[in-house]
Amino acid sequence: MTTRSFGKAVRRTEDLRLITGQGSFTDDAGPNALSLVMVRSPYANARVVSIDVSEAEQLNGVTAILTYEDLPGRLAEPLPLLIPHPSLSAPRTQHILAKDYVRYVGQSVVAIFAADRYIGEDAAERVIVEYEPKVAVVGIDGALGPNLVHDDVPRNVAADHSEHVGDVDSALAEAPHVLELDFEMERSMGSALEGRASHATWDRHSRKLRIQNATQTPTSVRFAVANILEIPDEQVEVFAIDVGGGFGTKVIHPWPEDILTAWGAMNYENSVKFTEDRVEHFISSSHERGQRHHAKVGFDEEGRLLGLDVDFVHDNGAYTPYGMIAPLITATQLPGPYRLPNYRVRFRSVYTNTVQVTPYRGAARPHAVFTMERTMDRIAAFLGIDRSEVRQRNFIQPDEFPYDLGMIFQDGRPAIYDSGDYPEMLNKALSMIEWDSFAERRSEAPPGKRRGIGVACYVEGTGLGPYEGGHVRVETGGKIQVSTGLASSGQGHHTVFAQIVADELGVPFEDVEVVTGDTRRFQYAVGTFASRAAVTSGNAVAEAARLVKEKAIALAADALEANPEDLEIVDGQVQVKGTPVRAIPLSQVAVLANPLRYSFSEAARAATQFAGNGSFDEPPIKPGEDPGLEATGWYSPIRATFASGTHAVEVEIDLATSEVEILRYCVVHDCGRIINPLIVEGQIHGGVAQGIAGALYEQLAYDEDGNLQNASFMDFLMPYCTEIPKIEIDHLETPSPLNPLGIKGAGEAGVIPVSAVIASAIEDAEGFEINQMPLFPSDLHSMRLASGREPA
């Protein structure tokens, strides 16, 4: 048997190039490319009165300067609305360059093509734009106020959406107890260390536009560019080799700069590159997490949920290119692991004069889980029962799957939980954190400190469609080439897809080479987001490998004069089961799979036309067959698969500084069958770190005029290693019945319940309610003063 690599902590094949400085990020290419530099709006809401580029144009090294008036054809139209929805009644997307109005600080107004970034920035300083500022609409209160972001969108409402299951009004009317609760989360953002970037080259000889882009979805870039530039898809090639973190930001294509680099490359017959700087990332790439929730929950004496009515407001920023996906995810993921027979949710997605809001790792689930888990804690407090007990009493049980929520998920298909074991997961987490003996540890808190413990559970829809594909090809040299269309930004796809193919095909892991996110290799894809890559592309490459295996066995059966059923593939050899001496290497099968007129190697002679292969009664390629030992496999899930997890945390709060220290952080995680525990744990570590960042450190602080006041790493407190504790992990594996590999997604999981669990622990320590995130020491200090629970 070939040693199976699925499930093993295989070291990553990606690493060698990345640790030796041989990675290939977008900005690494094209040192002599023209640099695209944007002039961005300094006003949150203003009319553009005039633009004077005359002085800037005089600078040596400036190739061209464009304003909206210069944009031809479809470039002058608003950018596409990527995900329409019936409830999205007033979608708005921005123009590539501002047309008459700017609606957030950072919006692109003028495009400069210059010899390098230095000259481009010199030119940007010389562009004179006159604005007529209007009152900025900032924050949810601003959106609900009298001023408008778009004059033709009344009340600033982009979408007003409601869904329900059961009869919430009756359930709440009849419930023995009803609580009304308010929860709010503020903005943060993905903050990948590599910003957005695109490098476009027009090859006038082959008439191809080649684009390397820092993207999670090269096919989106390709189709967007081809559509807007009105050129055939076939002329546009897009690839992402290495991408320095995505976290959702790099899935929202096209950005204005994607189009302008491509258009500039064609028109100036040059390479054009855009590399976003850090300030630009803060003020022009997507934000997320700004939401305010009001929940009304009814429950019985035992703490069982009878009805939940949630009304929330989502601040979508100035534009809605990604539709209303983020709040829709909150709405459908809010019930979490609990039986909720009567549930109603309504949200309004509202405009503000701030950067657009689109999904950031976790994708509006942290808000959902914060609302639900805080609610569970309040029920426990109200009834005086343990927080873990109120959860146990409400869990969907392992024998209730598939469990239909009765709602439509973000993929437009029913939200039906496929599998899981929530009670067991909670038990594991409680035992890890030693929940039952916490009273003792609480009493051991040093003087001037308070300790608290918290727990939070979540369910995450992952691995959604519409589809991904994979291609597997056995080369005559023996290497197995694998490609899939979605891109990688650190998830270890090259490793895990190689593991899957190695096992399915029966070849050594080392012989498998994977390429992701290159439209030249694989044309059809959706993208890397929603914790979907392993599920969708993983199952697609597995299917492709199975098809290749079938073909290899059929060909080898002829060559070995054996019955196909008696053959197996072990270590890259097709052999007769139990008689490995009768064997043929896959590389040789690949030779035979491609009948040749010409021979380019010794091995290939066996496939040439005088080698005596086959019968004269059939053509060399039989009807229904294709040359080459290769196949394409597809995986299109019937619906999303639902991963789940429980986090538990113990914190210690310094009453003098109100600093929250995490003493222990425990995670129990269920993503179905694990392909590579090293990579899954790495994903969880990173997710939890981003969750802690959002809970205790990060916030995007807008002033009342819509200026982002902390648009730098000096002021936006992204955690260093000094802020992130050790994370302890245990796994549960309930295979998904929806796909052959039994896997669920893991990419976003770590971040989802972190705000909820930390709030739970702080509330437990302090004894007053925590209803908002993030929570800075100054907030905590003020709350403590207000609560009257001043430190002794």
Binding site: T20, Y118, A192, F713, M714, Y720
Partner: protein, 163 residues
Amino acid sequence: MNEEMSHEIVLDVNGKVKRFSAPARRLLSDALRGDLGLTGTHVGCEHGVCGCCTVLIDDQPVRSCLTFAIAAQDRKIRTVEGLADADGKLHPVQAAFKECHALQCGFCTPGFLMTATALLEQRPDPDEEEITEAIAGNLCRCTGYQNIRAAIGHAVELMQSDI
């Protein structure tokens, strides 16, 4: 208008002398990446906070995005491309990062590798606190740092077993 004056700049990078001409304002990070093609050094923030662009100058970790190339003349510069031996044998810090899964997207990695290399050259047997302190100026958005700390600890072991 505004023709910029170019200067002949000579840099000693990874033991090799490199000459190019560039304006005085050319940052070392841009010179390494653009003029010399050493794109292993990454630029994450351009204001000296993220640490992605860290290189060693005379054995000290330095933010190349806050250093003018022209100011780095007559100094010994080391970048991630110079870490492994000429025959390709990985530096123990590199080997440890791979072994411990201390990188995901790999964008911040060169900065961490150079910072850790300087630490281990100065403190061959650092304790956990010294490791944390040494990398406390480097941001990583992917890993949560746990495996990075472990990797530097593992690199210490590798270096000791190498002797």
